[in-house]
């Protein structure tokens, strides 16, 4: 049959035919015994539509067919679907809904195939919704609109039941929620507005109730366990039946109700809160606390504050402990850094190790906690103990490790590790320049009196200090170590010189260490009257040194020398290892049997302080080389001294120590002086580049510039500014007395 001869199908007629097909489909959906559509059935139905749409007007029934398509759904829904849903409730209703939706989708699929020709031309031409869309919209407008709130409530109720521990049909919920998503036809609006919003609200209310109870009944760790568990479950819930987009919103609500709202109460719980956990080293609970609080906005701040307070308190307690121990010390040992103070440093190191581990392990290396640790240590590390500043304590601690007889029991690795930790502590001390000066003084002692245990360790700590504080910090110290190496070389050359010039030989074995002035601490050089034997030594060395360099001046520091003397005592001759000062005093007795205090002082040309100290070491200490008249425990200017020929000891060779002068005051003075110069230089540097600057700004920049070495106090800076004004480096601005101008 050709198209021209095709018989025109009348609308009613055609629709009657279509209706049969639609009814067949409905029966299949209802589960009634009905054979499936054959391909011929399908073709006939499709062709009927095709023909009715392609007929010449007035028999082109596209519009009518389009309407009837929609009406088919509406009719079915209204007569069958809705009633069946209305009569069911709760879970049954949900099941029915899932079934009906599934059926509906099938119906839409089939009908839109039959009516497909409309999709091809009619819909496009009139810009109308496609068949698929029409079908789904019917369900949405008739079924969904009416039932969604009931459905939503049923779902939420099931969710709450599951929260209470009951088993629910998760697959069902998934299917129901899929409807919310699919009914949006590409948009999430329905899901979000019609379901999610209410679900979130309900969730918040649920957890709010729970939290209110738990916070009163449970300890902090228990509460946190519950919270963690809840969050885990909610996440699980999402993966099983909620839409993935709900996850962040859901978790946020739960976190808010469980954590944010009760954060402070939780952290500050009397016996189980953050303080208590820290006190009792509850590492697991603290880790959990970190995990939970890191999720809420600014949740970690209060935790890190409590951490800081705790560490500060622990540190301050150590300081007090050390202070108390020190106040029980004997009065004469008050100013000397003793064992207790060393113990204190060790404890501080241990404290640091402990809490650094916390920061790394429990608190996941978070910067907030690093900062808290740093600030805590800065508070108590700058408190001195028993009159000694922390800078001094630390320097003494290093000295003990590095000197002979200090820490020989420790392995090399242990020493390295300890040095590493000490350098780290230095970062917290604000008076770094004071530490440098004490360290330098003690290093000098170690190097000059051959008290250094291990060269490698000495160099190693200098490297670490350099890394932490910069090259300028360690340049002098490195110079000192180098000087010693050079000195040894120099000594070899000196010995060669002596062997080549036999008449230059002073008759005594002489070792000279030449120090570069700028590197070493300043030493007062007194004009000691050397014994004749030694005078020749000095001469000889001077001549030798002239052959090496012509432009340098040698200043002899006799206070640092050592001497080996043979004492011809009656029982036996013994070798005495003494300082040059002590040797000079002893040699006086080769010429006289008995000498008075003032005679000795005149002949040696030293100060009272030095004379008292050295005579004390020879007559009132462990080894009595000289007899003192009267035989009291202290030296007085009216005493008389005699060589003690009866002296002996079981050893052949003894060392007679001369206790060093306390350098503390001098160090502090020197550092204060250097600081004044440093502040001056800093102010001038800043003003030179800025030309005009306000007072507060100047002070701030000055503090920042000098911060690496020490914390200058405001008054000190002000004083230097005023001094610089008097010296015409700066002037006050005429109009604004709070501003300074640089005077070129």
């Amino acid at each position: 049959m050709t198209m021209n001869e095709r018989k025109t199908i009348d609308l009613e007629q055609g629709w009657e035919f279509m209706q049969k097909g639609i009814t067949k489909l409905k029966n299949i959906l209802e589960g009634l015994p009905e054979p499936q559509f054959s391909s011929e059935d399908y073709m006939m139905l499709y062709t009927t539509i095709y023909n009715m749409c392609t007929q010449k007007p007035p028999h082109d029934y596209s519009q009518q067919l389009y309407d009837k398509y929609r009406e088919s759904f509406e009719e079915y829904i209204t007569t069958t679907v809705l009633p069946s849903l209305r009569e069911k409730h709760d879970e049954f209703m949900l099941r029915e809904l899932v079934k009906r939706w599934s059926n509906h989708k099938v119906m839409v699929r089939w009908l839109s195939r039959f009516f497909h020709y409309l999709d091809r031309y009619f819909i496009a031409r009139r810009s109308l919704p496609a068949l698929n869309e029409v079908g789904l919209t019917c369900f949405r407008d008739l079924v969904y609109q009416e039932l969604y709130s009931k459905v939503r409530d049923a779902v939420i109720s099931l969710i709450d039941q599951e929260r209470e521990g009951e088993q629910i049909d998760r697959a069902l919920l998934k299917n129901v929620l899929d409807i919310f998503v699919e009914i949006g036809m590409g948009q999430m609006e329905q899901y979000e507005n019609d379901f999610e919003a209410a679900m979130l609200k309900d969730t918040a209310a649920y957890y709010s109730r729970k939290a209110s109870n738990w916070i009163l009944e449970d300890s902090c760790p228990d509460y946190m366990l519950k919270a963690e568990e809840c969050l885990k479950r909610e996440k699980d819930r999402v993966s099983h039946y909620l839409h993935s987009s709900s996850e962040p919103k859901l978790l946020e609500k739960v976190q808010n109700e469980l954590l944010s709202v009760f954060a402070n109460q939780l952290l500050e719980k009397e016996h189980s809160g953050c303080h208590a956990l820290l006190r009792d080293d509850k590492v697991d609970d603290l880790s959990r606390m970190y995990r939970l609080f890191s999720k809420i906005p600014r949740g970690l701040e209060p935790v890190s504050n409590i951490f800081k307070q705790h560490v500060t308190a622990e540190g301050t307690a150590l300081v007090k402990q050390a202070e108390d121990a020190a106040s029980n010390k004997k009065a004469d040992k008050r100013d000397v850094v003793g064992l207790q103070e060393q113990v204190f440093v060790r404890k501080v190191i241990e404290l640091h190790d402990k809490y650094l581990a916390y920061v790394n392990d429990c608190f996941n290396n978070h910067t907030l906690f690093h900062k808290a640790l740093k600030e805590a240590f800065e508070v108590f590390c700058n408190k001195g103990v028993a009159g000694s500043s922390s800078a001094e304590l630390l320097a003494t601690f290093c000295d003990n490790i590095l000197k002979k007889g200090g820490s020989e029991k420790l392995s090399d690795e242990a020493i390295e590790e300890t040095l590493e930790k000490v350098v780290k502590l230095l970062a917290y001390i604000s008076d770094k320049d004071l530490f440098a000066e004490f360290y330098r003084k003690k290093l000098a002692r170690r190097l000059l009196f051959d008290k250094s245990a291990n060269d490698d360790h000495e160099r190693s700590i200098l490297t670490k200090l350099k890394q932490q504080c910069g090259g300028q910090f360690t340049s002098k110290m490195e110079g000192m170590v180098t000087d010693l190496t050079l000195a040894r070389e120099n000594q070899t050359h000196f010995e060669e010189y002596l062997s080549n010039n036999p008449n230059a030989n002073p008759g005594i074995d002489l070792t000279v260490t030449v120090l570069t002035t700028g590197f070493w601490p300043s030493y007062k050089s007194f004009d000691l009257n050397l014994p004749a034997e030694m005078v020749k030594c000095v001469e000889v060395f001077r001549e030798f040194y002239q052959t090496k360099t012509k432009h340098r001046k040698l200043t002899w520091i006799y206070s640092l020398g050592t001497c080996n003397i043979n004492g011809k005592f009656e029982p036996k001759t013994m070798e005495l290892i003494v300082t040059t000062y002590q040797a000079s005093a002893l040699l006086l007795f080769n010429a006289s049997d008995r000498l008075s205090y003032s005679e000795i002082m005149t002949q040696l040309n030293l100060t009272d302080d030095d004379v008292v100290r050295l005579l004390h070491s020879l007559s009132c200490a462990k080894y009595k080389i000289l007899n003192k008249e009267p035989n009291t425990k202290t030296i007085s200017p009216t005493d008389y001294f005699e060589f003690n020929s009866k002296f002996t000891d079981k050893m052949r060779r003894i060392k007679i120590p001369l206790p060093p002068v306390d350098e503390k005051k001098k160090v502090i003075e020197d550092v204060d002086k250097d600081r004044r110069y440093a502040i001056d230089a800093s102010i001038v540097r800043i003003m030179k580049s800025r030309k005009v600057l306000g007072h507060q700004q100047l002070v701030m920049e000055c503090v920042e510039q000098l911060g690496r070495m020490f914390k200058p106090d405001f008054k000190a800076i002000k004083k230097r500014i005023e001094d610089l004004i008097t010296r015409d480096y700066l002037e006050r601005d005429k109009d604004n007395p709070n501003t300074f101008r640089y005077l070129a």
Binding site: G694, H695, Q696, F714, K715, K718, K719, I721, E722, I725, T726, R732, P737, N738, T739, F740
Partner: protein, 231 residues
Amino acid sequence: MRRSSTRKTGQSNSAASVNSSATDLFRSASSKATSKELERIDQLFYSYANRSSNLIDPEGIEVLCSDVEVDHTDVRILMLAWKMKAEKQGYFTLEEWRRGLKALRTDTVSKLKKALPELEKEVRRPSNFVDFYSYAFRYCLTEEKQKSIDIESICELLDLVLGSQFQAQVDSFVEYLKTQNDYKVVNMDQWMGFFRFCNEISFPDLRNYDPELAWPLILDNFVEWRRAKHS
């Protein structure tokens, strides 16, 4: 600035007319102070001056003071020195004498005596007082490279110069200076700072004093001392 000679209109530029009248005054002053008056001024100078040095020295000043019936420690003598722009404490040169008396328009002792109250009023005007105050300090620097004045003298000078205006502050500060040990001298910056202090800081409560500002350290210490004393 347009020169007044180019002006053709009757309206005169007010600034220009002030300038010209000032010039006139000067001219008239100097013209007044010609011949007879200049002569008298010089004569008066020589009546007090030392024969050999040709300067009025401390003795001469004492005589002058008794003539004008003012104590030689009175602040008005200092004011006179200021007017003369005298450089050396205790001495007046001929040039300084001329400068001062010409400016005061006096050529006799009695006129000078009568001019003193006016002079005081002039000095105490805020626009002049700062200058006078700093002059007072410089006037007391007797040695060549001297930059500061000892505490004793400062206390006297403070009372002399500021006593009438800021008695309470001066008395308190003087008490502090006499009891403290940190400072043995006071320099110009600190001197000027104290004047600013009197003008800006409410006394005796010191409510608006902020040590974080650039007040000289001596004043920070003074305030601290006062607060400790009165707490």
